[in-house]
């Protein structure tokens, strides 16, 4: 019985003009585009300079700032108002204002002030950008002090030398971190949405009636709906492994078998969840929106883009019920740190519990009466 049902499901998927192409193209699209786009790194901020001094020193400083690699000098403004309007028009992100008599004050009064104004609509960019800029200026200041003081030999300047070193990912490659997690997102979207639309699709098309009068048992029926997505999930994740390896040279530090095992359980749980929603919905529109509602929350709260640790406590508590979080942890740990099953028992238990819970729910909830 199951065999014929499966044959039907696969035929339906294969004959759909969109689905097979989607299943093959989507992983490429996500893995080729996402890792390059999903990047918080601040590489080049547009700098606007107001140089009221026009001295050798101010010129030197501007050169030092613009050659640092973090800032690109795009606007030279005559006054602050002009500078501000260039920020409003998105031509500049950060303003460096050098006051008049900057060089004279520095050599005569031995101290000069500078103004940095950063566009902080994006707080992180604004904050870090102004830190970078003031860091460069402090370096410049220290160089200047050395040049003037050292020959005289009249003071030791206390300098704290800060050495930073990055563990596990010394080149700070964000993509290494993103790619394994993106595979999870990919699986979630494909193996979450498609099952959610499946049963309700039969309801809407009216074929559910026919299904209900066959001798197919509830368990077999749900199984026949579950298995195709399980297999699709495996195809998707295998394509993802290939893309990650070919494009990003990324292979798991741990065993590929571990990843497949976890993926198998995860897809099962997720498809079960999709089927539950499908069972409860009357129209595809409804199913889709309910699924969308949950998937958005699950993805945002999974630690994909923002670390779970920086969430408030109540939010962290909610994430304990987020299967995405566990699978994402597994993928990142296996890919980056090479963890094995023994270190991932917590995640294994959690994911198995989800799979069991949702699939029993789907079976129990499916009624052959309308």
């Amino acid at each position: 019985m199951l065999k014929y049902l499966l044959e039907k499901e696969f035929k339906q998927i294969r004959r759909n003009p969109f689905l097979p192409r989607m299943i093959l193209v989507f992983p490429f699209m996500v893995l080729l585009v996402f890792p390059w786009a999903a990047n918080f790194e601040i590489r080049s901020l547009n700098l606007c300079v107001i140089d009221n001094d026009h001295s050798t020193l101010s010129g030197q400083m501007i050169r030092k700032v613009s050659s640092s690699g973090y800032f690109k000098l795009t606007v030279v403004a005559g006054n602050y108002r002009q500078a501000l309007s260039s920020v409003e028009k998105n031509k500049a992100d950060i303003i460096l204002e050098i006051p008049a008599h900057f060089e004279r004050d520095l050599t005569r009064d031995q101290a000069s002030k500078l103004m940095i104004s950063a566009n902080a609509v994006n707080g992180t960019t604004g904050g870090l950008g102004s830190y970078y800029l003031s860091g460069i200026i402090q370096n410049f200041s220290a160089d200047f002090q050395k040049k003037w003081l050292q020959p005289a030999g009249n003071a030791t300047i206390p300098v704290i030398e800060m050495v930073s070193s990055y563990r596990f990912n010394p080149h700070l490659n964000y993509r290494i971190y993103m790619v394994p997690a993106l595979m999870v997102m990919l699986l979630t979207m494909i193996c979450g949405f498609l099952p959610a639309l499946n049963i309700v699709g039969e309801k809407e098309a009216g074929t559910m009636e026919q299904m209900n009068v066959t001798p197919v048992t509830r368990l077999t029926f749900i199984f026949s709906k579950l298995l195709p997505y399980w297999i699709i999930g495996f195809i998707v994740i295998t394509i993802s492994f290939g893309v990650a390896w070919m494009i990003y040279g990324l292979t798991p530090a741990g065993s590929l078998l571990t990843v497949y095992l976890f993926a198998a359980i995860y897809i099962l749980g997720l498809s079960g969840f999709g089927l539950v929603i499908s069972n409860y919905s009357e129209t595809m529109q409804q199913a889709m929106f309910v699924m969308y509602f949950f998937i958005i929350i699950l993805i945002l709260m999974s630690g994909l883009f923002t670390p779970v640790q920086s969430m408030p406590e109540w939010a962290q508590w909610i994430t304990a019920f987020n299967p995405l979080k566990y699978f994402m942890q597994v993928m990142r740990l296996v890919y980056l740190k090479g963890s094995g099953i023994s270190e991932l028992t917590n995640q294994l238990m959690a994911l198995s519990a989800f799979a069991l819970f949702f699939n029993s729910w789907a079976v129990l909830n499916y009624r052959k009466t309308t």
């Binding site: 786009a37 918080f40 402090q138 300098v159 030398e161 800060m162 930073s164 700070l172 409804q286």
Partner: protein, 368 residues
């Protein structure tokens, strides 16, 4: 006209009778604002750090205290030996180790040199960079103060001012983004599905034989979603002003006008999708994959577009939400006038005309 209102009424019945979808349509903005406002932050807050301080002198104590008191760090572990760092990162709860060199203060004052090692767990590169930068800034500040105490001459003192958002709240950045995403979702996705649904269930035939012109049938479908979008716009604005304390710095009228323009673009996109697809599944996939994902990714909602590779920056230009979000940031947060976003208004208008023309052309073909 009476016919038209009857059709609009019919569409409203569709929506009101599907309570679950309606609840979600109206609830999505609330949930997203709350999530983004309170749960999802890219800000680094209270990162747990480990410290190795062999000399325990005034300088190291002050630095540790300042790190601990800042909102970025919590000193969680005091190590007895620098080799403990190997184990300390294993479970992932410690994000940085600060290791002072021996005789820190003494070296600093007499030889002018002392070393601090900032060791960061860089599995997540962004957080790692941010953490290192904040720590560097805090230690750098301390060094500046030392210089001040010692009256070392020739100092350049930078004064930092953060424009528009001095407290560096994440909300200022994402409110325009959430608006762009929700409006796109409701207008493009919902409209396209509502139209394709009629095709799929066969009721489109019935509608087309009514005396109404086909274009008005489609327009009637857009009206309820237009209204829901307006309700959502209000919800998001009210929530962001009263719950998240994000003020509307510029003119509210221009802001609303610009949003209406964007809603119009999204509705016409929905219409376009409905003319090229025949099943709800396909409409959903096209809308979801071709419109919603790019909005999240390429619109600058979460990730700054400036840092992307050139190809993606170029590609982002055809995402309408990108222009909308730029406008909203200028009008709502920066308080700029409409003249500073004139370019974006023109671009969106051209997009609207183009999309409408394209979908009307397709629409006629479909009726034959």
């Amino acid at each position: 006209m009476k016919q038209f209102t009857t059709f609009v009424k019919k569409e409203f019945y569709h929506i009101f009778r599907d309570k679950r979808t309606m609840m979600i349509l109206l609830g999505i903005p609330v949930i997203q604002i709350i999530l983004f406002g309170f749960a999802i932050t890219t800000e680094v807050k209270n990162s747990r750090i480990a410290v190795y301080d062999p000399s325990k002198d005034e300088a190291t104590r002050t630095i540790i205290e300042r790190l601990d008191n800042s909102r970025y760090f919590d000193v969680a572990v005091y190590m007895d030996h620098p080799s403990e760092t190997d184990n300390i990162f294993k479970d992932g709860s410690i994000s940085m180790a600060v290791i002072f060199s021996e005789g820190f203060m003494e070296n600093l004052m007499h030889t002018g040199h002392a070393q601090v090692l900032l060791l960061t767990d860089a599995t997540e590169a962004n957080t790692a960079t941010a953490i290192t930068n904040y720590a560097t800034a805090i230690i750098g500040d301390y060094q500046q103060e030392l210089l001040l105490l010692q009256k070392i001459p020739f100092r350049i003192i930078p004064e930092i001012k953060l424009l528009y958002n001095p407290q560096m709240k994440g909300a200022y950045n994402f409110v325009p983004g959430v608006l762009g995403m929700i409006l796109m979702l409701i207008c493009a996705l919902m409209t396209s599905i509502a139209i394709v649904r009629e095709k799929e269930t066969g009721t489109m035939e019935v509608l087309l034989v009514s005396p109404m012109k086909p274009i008005f049938i489609i327009l009637a479908k857009a009206v309820p979603y237009f209204l829901i979008s307006c309700i959502n716009l209000t919800t998001v604005l009210v929530l962001s002003v009263f719950v998240l304390d994000v003020p509307v710095a510029g003119s509210l009228w221009w802001l609303i006008l610009v949003s209406l323009l964007f809603i119009f673009v999204s509705l016409s996109l929905g219409l376009l999708i409905s003319t090229v697809t025949n099943t709800q599944l396909a409409a959903m996939l096209v809308a979801g994959m071709m419109f919603i994902l790019p909005v999240v990714l390429l619109s600058g909602m979460m990730f700054p577009v400036e840092n992307m590779p050139d190809v993606l920056q170029w590609l982002s230009n055809i995402v309408p939400a990108k222009w909308y979000i730029i406008m909203m940031k200028s009008l709502m947060i920066k308080g700029a006038g409409i003249s500073s976003v004139l370019r974006e208004v023109i671009i969106l208008t051209i997009m609207a005309v183009f999309i409408i023309a394209l979908s009307l052309k397709n629409f006629k073909n479909r009726l034959e």
